[in-house]
Amino acid sequence: MSGQEKVVGERVTRIDALDKVTGRARFGVDVVLDGMLHAKLLRSPHPHARVVGVDSSATLALPGVRAVVRASEVPRVVGTWFNLRSEKETKKLFLQDDKVRFIGDPVLAVVADDEQTAEEALALIRVEYEVLEPVFDPLEAMERSDVRIHERGNIGFHIFKEYGDLEAGFAQADVVVENSYSTSKQIHASLEPQGACIAAYSADGVLTIHSTSQVPHWVMMYVSLALGIPMAKVRVIRPYVGGSFGGRAGVIWGLELMCAYLATKVNRPVRLAFTREEDFTATESRHPFHVCMKTGATKEGLLVANEAHIVMDVGGYGTHFVSVLADALGTGVGIYRIPNYTLEGTCVYTNKPLSGAFRGYGNPQMNFAQESQLDEVAEKLGMDPVELRLKNYRGSGEMDPVFNDPVGSCGLADCLTRGAQALGWGEKWSPRPPTSANAGPRGASGTMKRGVGMAAHQHGTGARFGLPDPSSATVRLNADGSVNLLTACADDGQGNRTVLAQICAEVLGVGLQDICVSDTDTGIAPLDGGTHGSRQTYCSGVAVMRAAAEARAKVLALGAEYLEVDDASRLTISDGVVHDSAGTGGSVSLSDLMRHFQVGDFSRCHQVIGDASGVTDAQPAVFGATFAEVEVDTDTGQVKVLNMVGAFDVGRAVNPMHCEGQITGGLTMGVGYALTEGLIIEDGCVLNPNFTDYKIIRAPDAPHITPVLVESGEPTGPFGAKGLGEATMISAASAIASAVYHAVGVRMRELCITPEKILEALEAAHAGCGKERVGACARGDEEGAAAGAVG
């Protein structure tokens, strides 16, 4: 954190850039093993059913078909690595039964010589189902005891947390705002489709799995426990992966465990890969939240009470759900100093594709509700929304009631003020109701209305206090001074492998080019929690620091011996040279030193190895604020996001270029969450399982984004760094909703915000005769006609 670093803090090119830009990088879908067979899944056409019988006789007679396997032969993962912590918990991790619980739920797998044969084979299989009544609405599912999706019913989890005295809190409030919110089922839609897995089972019982999972070591353990193979003999190798965003935070539904099992059955490598349509219909997506929230504040703008009731739509099965709710709780309660807060959360099963981990992990949903509440509170108080946040956020050193720990580094105030400045908030914002100045020089004329909005958020880094969260690293020096960094860090594109190399190089005093980062391979690299919870830079970075520090200490000890210096601690390493600059002025290159002790002195033959494995000291909160400027076409309801600013407290930007990339990417994904994305499901059937109808933001539509990096210096983090990846999209939708309100005076409380909904809201507001100003509808024909904007 001294600012004198040579590698950390630099905009270094990522170490895999060359592989990727030349097309040489091999992704999950590219992996080919000699002699591999091809598997396809037969998926349930029913949202809720029991599989009664399977007739695969015609299939097995087809030339080239090797096996047909029932899904019920393979355990399904219905938890997370939380469940690894004890045998009792692990029993809850796996589910094995004959039921299917959403359209697309795997029923069986066919293995054949090639994909075409596998597809033809599927068509020949007869499955007999006992069709059961489905339930699709979580609010209804909560009430139905006659339709039981799981044995214990439809409620997967319930929590009620109380801080302070809610009634007393509201009694102090001068302003109370109460609303309901709902959010959409957003899906990751990574460019590499979910689900290509190749498993191979060798004669000596070693199972090798090529998987795109974000958490290779947890996959290793799941597979080991599910199939009864010792962990030492399960090896998970991760190729390059084309984006995950949480969609691969575990095993992919119906993929790795089935593929591994098939490999053990047919004794040949087996490839199981999903089409884009299967990705859209049968893999995890973001939990839709239904939130009822009541917020109270004093006229001075102090938040005094908040009451939240959350219903989460888990879908047919739960994997990440309890922790998602916990995240919503922690981040919602944590960010502001609200002394009286109750939160009730219910996770409900429905017969729809399962929900799971997705960038932000419950926080974007909670944030949308809570920040919208605050936006409305600010408006009622006639207060600048930025000021409301500045007045109420929990700062460094203040006690966080959820973690019962004081807040560590906190750069939220800087995020708010610098972010506001970057957008021109001072010039562009004014309290509503707007005057006719809204139609003036800011560019709005007639039907086009502009507005600005903002929102703030807190998120976490890692899962130190909620889940097993190990990070490990091994640093090995070679005889030429080059370094192998063994890490199971999972890089989906964030650049974390580069960042870890930067940290390693910095601690060791060598150049980035001297570090070779290992493959993400559980057979090579030690136990690591993988990528989720924005943890790799912080958590794995700490492990790398510790391992590198241990290696460095050993190097210095050897250096002292070599240079005949008594006190090793006065030696330094920089640019790959060990110096005794404070003493004799002697020096030796790292390569000469290592060669001597590895192969030069036959009585030593010693390799310098540094190791670390453990947890971090903290789970630091990361903070941010998103600002948005929008233009609404009040004739069509269409929203164009003109400008956005994302200001984030990253502790320390180990690689500012990577941070900017996360910000522009995350904010753009947030625009999609706000305005264009969501699986449309009717009677359990996904109606938009393709990119034509599931709209992702494209280049011409991406807003102009200004990233602002705030460095508060997290003392427990590597060189002060903490997490960023998820934070970037958490308050984007909230900011856009706030901006839409500022532009046209309607509160959009349901994501995604479609033009139809805006138009309906405008019409309803207009019909409501002046309770809220509505923009163009209040204007005369002349202005409307003069707009002349093209649709």
């Binding site: 597809e119 164009k640 479609t754 033009p755 024909d781 002349e782 409307g784 006609a785 093209v790 649709g791």
Partner: protein, 301 residues
């Protein structure tokens, strides 16, 4: 989902007659392929033979001086009609600013808004029309321009006004053995202005139209002499709406009149709810887009 698109035959006829004969031979199991950007998405299982039209070289864009008058028989203003070969790519249309000038520039606009650049580089005019999407951008634009299709089959050559070309979603009047050869666009009279507008689901640069409008009008000192409005994505085929014409002809253009025309058009269409938009929204947007198209077309006069 099975992928069973496995055509066993592939032929490249040199002439249209040869193509028609092949289509007749293969019956319902033969399909023509030009760019392939629709066919290879649909991958229809029944197709056993692909008839590649690339060697037919139907890639002309010509304006000729023959007096292909407007359907209403008035004397032609620019005196020139347009013929576009069915194999012309959408990119070529989008870039043909010189040839497609004046009111015909709405064709380049429709082409520009169709799909994405790589799709446009392969997709053809003929393919887009024969795909007969109710939201087909080129279909809607050309329908407003009174375009007609020239087809050739074993029974001979036909000229089919586009208003009679589309039967339903993805269905045209083409017989099994017929090949679309070119599109003809009659000359437009003096005082013509045209516009093509397309609305997607949100401010998206790439989308199938939620509603699209083609508009060709003739104005004389601010008075409407004629107007022809086509609409996409509000019916089972691209449609013409005649009701606004009756309301507009003979009257002086004004913002209020255009708003009225929009409302009339909205009342004249019968859109459906689908995954992209509701019928209610489509009606509202019909009104908005028709009004805006009239405004834009008037400015082009």
């Amino acid at each position: 989902m099975t992928v069973s698109f496995r055509p066993a035959e592939y032929v490249r006829p040199r002439t249209v007659e040869e193509a028609s004969a092949l289509l007749a031979d293969f019956g319902g199991q033969g399909a023509v392929i030009a760019g392939g950007t629709d066919l290879l998405v649909k991958k229809p299982a029944h197709v056993k033979a692909l008839i590649d039209l690339v060697d037919l070289r139907l890639d002309h864009i010509v304006t000729d001086g023959s007096s292909e008058g407007a359907e209403n028989g008035e004397s032609t203003g620019n005196g020139r009609a347009l013929r576009i070969g069915a194999s012309v790519t959408v990119t070529d249309l989008a870039e043909a600013h010189h040839a497609l000038s004046g009111p015909w520039s709405m064709i380049t606009e429709a082409a520009r808004l169709l799909g994405t650049p790589a799709v446009r580089n392969r997709a053809t005019l003929g393919g887009n029309l024969c795909n007969a999407s109710p939201a087909g951008d080129l279909s809607v634009a050309l329908l407003a321009l009174r375009a007609y299709a020239v087809t050739s089959g074993t029974s001979g050559v036909r000229r089919i006004p586009l208003s009679e070309f589309f039967l339903g979603p993805n269905r045209t009047v083409l017989a099994v053995d017929e090949v679309l050869m070119e599109i003809g666009v009659p000359a437009t009279p003096a005082g013509s202005g045209a516009a093509f507008l397309k609305l997607g689901r949100h401010q998206s640069s790439v989308d199938i139209a939620t509603v699209s409008v083609g508009c060709l009008l003739v104005a004389d000192h601010g008075v409407c002499r004629d107007v022809r409005i086509s609409l996409g994505a509000v019916g089972p085929t691209p449609v013409l709406t005649h009701a606004p014409t009756e309301a507009l002809v003979g009257r002086e253009f004004s913002p209020a009149l255009m708003r009225e025309a929009g409302a009339i058009a909205a009342a004249d269409v019968h859109p459906i709810d689908d995954v992209r938009a509701s019928a209610v929204y489509r009606r509202k947007m019909t009104a908005v887009l028709v009004r805006r198209a009239l405004e834009t077309a008037l400015r082009e006069v």
